[in-house]
């Protein structure tokens, strides 16, 4: 009996001991092609562009590129980027939550699978091509412009393309699936009987929503916000296709330094600033959510006390 009981763990240990090593190649790959390159631009950001034909030099180390990066033009674009990203993330949540809720709670399991596939299809369509679809739609000589003129809503060509509003629409569209998917997963995992219980116990729609649905969906909301906000801050395609001069974002400025100006030192400093800003906002969001969580718990606790007091 003891032999039977002890044999499997020993065998498993022997097997899994070597299994751990299987993670080494990917770790080496990511360190060599992801971490080290990032370290390289971090190093370049302390250097300079010595002459017209040289992209970078680290002979003199200074923080001068960061000072240069944070000039008014960059800060204006940076502020616009942050604005677009925060408004875009919030809109994705507001638009995406009811969709995810509808999919996870209201649909039958069979319909759920089909609708999920329908959400995934545009998501897997080429990002650039989808954005060009909006460019066609919003262009002054496009069909939407003609249609709006035809029904008399608009007088003259549609003037939305190459503005900040066009970029805002584009990013909400492009990142909406990244919000819907984690929300859907969280809401689908939720035990629906909890909602019924809440209703049976006298909770109205509003209180069940705030005290059952939202707390259970919170992990999904948080990963959705992260998945939308972080890539949105660094978006380069959407503003290039829809933004023009008045709707440009930081990603384009970073790209410009590497592709046109050939100033790798300054471009690196801009990229590092972008990463730091994203990190800062994510940390702020994290703290904010922790506070909301504490407040929700407090609120719930107070509510319970209140009810207890009312009963006694």
């Amino acid at each position: 009996m003891t032999a039977v009981a002890t044999a499997p763990p020993r065998a498993r240990r022997r097997f899994t001991g070597s299994v751990g090593l299987l993670a080494l190649p990917i770790a080496a790959w990511l360190v060599f092609f992801f971490i080290v390159p990032f370290g390289l631009i971090l190093w370049y950001s302390f250097g300079e562009k010595p002459s017209l034909y040289v992209t970078h030099s680290n002979d003199v180390l200074s923080l001068a590129r960061y000072v240069e990066a944070l000039d008014p033009a960059f800060l204006t674009t940076f502020w616009r980027t942050t604005q677009i990203a925060i408004v875009g993330t919030a809109l994705c949540l507001l638009i995406g939550f009811p969709i995810a809720y509808w999919m996870a709670v209201k649909l039958s399991p069979r319909a759920r699978g089909i609708v999920l596939a329908l959400v995934l299809v545009p998501y897997w369509t080429n990002f650039l091509v989808r954005t060009i679809g909006w460019q066609i739609t919003l262009s002054p000589e496009g069909f939407l412009s003609d249609f709006l003129n035809g029904i008399g809503v608009l007088n003259g060509p549609l003037q939305v393309l190459y503005t900040q509003q066009a970029v805002q629409l584009g990013v909400v569209y492009n990142y909406l699936p990244l919000m819907i998917l984690p929300l859907y997963v969280a809401l689908e995992r939720m035990d629906h009987r909890l909602l019924e219980a809440s209703r049976d116990l006298g909770g109205n729609w509003w209180s069940s929503f705030w005290r059952v649905t939202i707390p259970l969906a919170l992990p999904g909301i948080m990963s959705g916000l992260l998945l939308v906000f972080v890539p949105l801050m660094g978006d380069y395609i959407t503003p290039s296709v829809l933004g023009g001069a008045s709707g440009s974002m930081v990603g384009q400025m970073v790209a410009g330094q590497f592709q046109r100006a050939q100033n790798w030192a300054l471009g690196s400093a801009m990229a590092i600033c972008l990463m730091l800003a994203i990190l800062l906002v994510v940390i702020l969001f994290g703290v904010l959510f922790k506070l909301i969580g504490v407040a929700l718990a407090r609120f719930r606790h107070l509510g319970d006390l209140d009810r207890a007091g009312a009963i006694s």
């Binding site: 993670a23 990917i26 790959w29 390289l40 209201k106 998501y123 066609i136 998945l227 790209a255």
Partner: protein, 305 residues
């Protein structure tokens, strides 16, 4: 005694009442929610449908509709530049799929079978690779490839195809890892243990037991890496070298001049290819979950669950 008798009847009365009450109360909310959901789906499909519709435009400019016809498809397939970019894209996608699948499958097995302190770090590294804005990856890979290729004399890193495969694999190998991990975590180790008890050496155990179990995840991971690589624009436009321009970079570059209907036509063809691949993924995953009764769905995996 009376209470125990009473309570069931009370509850029965409630449950009998409830559906009626709910039927009265919910329709409006449900209808609004349903309309919102359907409108959301239409919103998501809208620009895709626009592209497909405009691929039949016979005009010279994509934005201004001229007439309906298949000219743009013929023009696209007769344009040697476009065909060359498609070839570059398909080859890079295949290469990236191979690299990401090998790296990701190993890592997925390792994570599912053996946690530990390093696992947290690996997951953090993979997560970081997935969430870092592409533009930052792109601008850091470009100088690194130049350093490796020009300064250190490793000429393999001057090849456009090699650069594309490496760049595309960074995100894709993380996706494959999470898919394989989700699959392996849903299966218990008893079969492997049984094989071990019966004296099978580790390598044989892997090929006869472990690999067949993880095969659906490996196949879908490979197919997803393939489509991810086909779609990649930002990384490609930084690391690709003249002579090996992939399709999305060609499209992106032609935005600066004029967009012609050929672009929409070839994009529609590529969309159909992506859809076919996705359908394969769905079939492989659903067959696998039906066989083992494990429902680690695609959305769950994609959402990082």
């Amino acid at each position: 005694m009376t209470t125990t008798v009473d309570r069931p009847t009370e509850r029965a009365a409630e449950t009998r009442d409830e559906p009626v009450a709910r039927k009265h109360r919910t329709p409006l909310g449900d209808v609004v929610l349903g309309i919102w959901g359907v409108a959301g789906l239409l919103f998501l499909f809208f620009p895709v449908l626009v592209i497909v519709a405009y691929s039949f435009n016979t005009g010279r400019q994509l934005q201004s509709w001229d007439g309906f016809g298949l000219d743009s498809y013929a023009n696209a397939f007769n344009n040697p530049t476009i065909v060359a970019t498609i070839q570059v894209s398909l080859m890079a996608a295949a290469g990236s799929a191979v690299v990401s699948t090998i790296l990701g499958s190993f890592a997925g097995v390792a994570l599912a079978r053996r946690g530990g302190r390093w696992a947290v770090w690996l997951v953090a590294l993979l997560g970081l690779a997935m969430v870092t804005p592409e533009i930052v990856n792109a601008v850091s890979l470009l100088p690194w490839f130049v350093t490796l290729g020009a300064d250190w004399g490793l000429s393999i890193f001057n090849l456009g195809q090699v650069r594309l495969v490496i760049a595309h694999s960074l995100f894709a190998c993380a996706v494959v890892t999470f898919i394989v991990r989700a699959r392996m975590a849903g299966l218990n180790e008893s079969l492997e243990e049984a094989a071990a008890d019966l004296g099978a050496p580790p390598v044989q155990r892997f090929w006869t037991i472990t690999f067949p179990l993880m095969r659906p995840a490996v196949i879908s991971g490979a197919l997803l890496s393939f489509t991810l690589s086909l779609d990649n624009t930002v990384l490609s436009s930084f690391v690709s070298v003249a002579g090996s321009t992939p399709w999305p970079v060609y499209v992106f570059a032609s935005l600066r001049s004029t967009l012609r209907p050929e672009i929409a036509a070839m994009s529609t063809v590529m969309l159909l290819l992506t859809l076919a691949v996705l359908a394969l993924v769905a079939i492989v995953l659903s067959r696998a979950s039906r066989k083992t009764g494990d429902g680690s769905g695609l959305a769950q995996t994609l959402a990082g669950g």
